[in-house]
Assembly symmetry: C2
Amino acid sequence: MASTERPRRADARRNRDLLVEVARRHVRRHGITTSLEAVARDAGVGPGTLYRHFPDRESLLAEILRRESDDLAAARERAARTIDVAERLDTWLGEVERHIAAYRGLSGLLVGSLGDTAPTPLGLACQEMIAMTEEFLAAARRAGVARPGVTARDLVGCAAMVAWLGSLGPGGTRQADGARDILRHGYRAAP
Amino acid sequence: MASTERPRRADARRNRDLLVEVARRHVRRHGITTSLEAVARDAGVGPGTLYRHFPDRESLLAEILRRESDDLAAARERAARTIDVAERLDTWLGEVERHIAAYRGLSGLLVGSLGDTAPTPLGLACQEMIAMTEEFLAAARRAGVARPGVTARDLVGCAAMVAWLGSLGPGGTRQADGARDILRHGYRAAP
DNA sequence: CACCGTAGCGGAGGCTCCCTCCGCGTAGGC
DNA sequence: GCCTACGCGGAGGGAGCCTCCGCTACGGTG
């Protein structure tokens, strides 16, 4: 399975790494619709080189995300330190939201892949988030503080949704605060 | 105040109306990022004509929306027929969601204007929705079925958010159902 | 009803971005 | 050190955004 990829020439690997790194900076600054030509220019390669390594925008974004899965792991560690079970779930979802919000426009792309069963690169990133969320949700359910019927996928979807809201300028940030509050009351069990 | 607009020539008025109508169709089909050049072509006018009447995409969209405020009024009538107070608020928010979802991409634009105090065209459309939502929310509060602290603007923001989620393909629709359910539990008062 | 000033029109054109294709240079196996 | 095919750069066609300018024809006036 891993043998499908044949060895690459050294310059190809170098260029690929360079492109991902430059693209990461550009996407962080300008969102996922950033100009790919500008990325290629900034990396000092021709557009053909970029498109050979990443046939479409999505595959480039997926590679950026793949290299950041340790960020998610760190977030899990951080959230796990919260003692109160209900609050811990809140904290975790905040981390998911932050992780998604790091790249403007990513939220929409991810939601589209939330239901992917085939192992598309973006689908895998979603699986990962859903699985981690499931852990926190299960703990909350055991403690009786999570409303039955709420699924981990729903919660990740909500986090993406709030991340989207927050990405829409200063007004969006305020709206996101309100939405987050309502959602929290919505997924918690009535006491 | 209304005298700021001087009388227009007949052909100008005709072209303007035609452009709005054609644009409405295009935006409904392709979302708010639809090609303005295509709109002009389809209306049989040059791009210059379109840009003279509507200096930017947003002003064109605002005009489309302005002409649809009666749709919102009809939605209010429809929602008002629901007998149960809590359910009536749900129904109304569903109508708001539907209204926003009619044009793919509109949700983001509207959220950006939710906090507008200045009477920008888009801001006015928001004011209208917030005001109507306030009526339904007030009724729910009086009946003790709405959780205190929830504002009408929060609710409109949530409706826009769910509309956005639902616009993201088939997976999005399922996510939207889940989110809507959580939100409903979140803005209702604990019994 | 003919005339004329100007409001308003069309479209050419400059810019950016997307993506493809092809001839050439060079990395690296032998 | 040689040779081959991998991977590179960049030209180029297509689309969209928006501006500017010369001409058309609308409609007020005598």
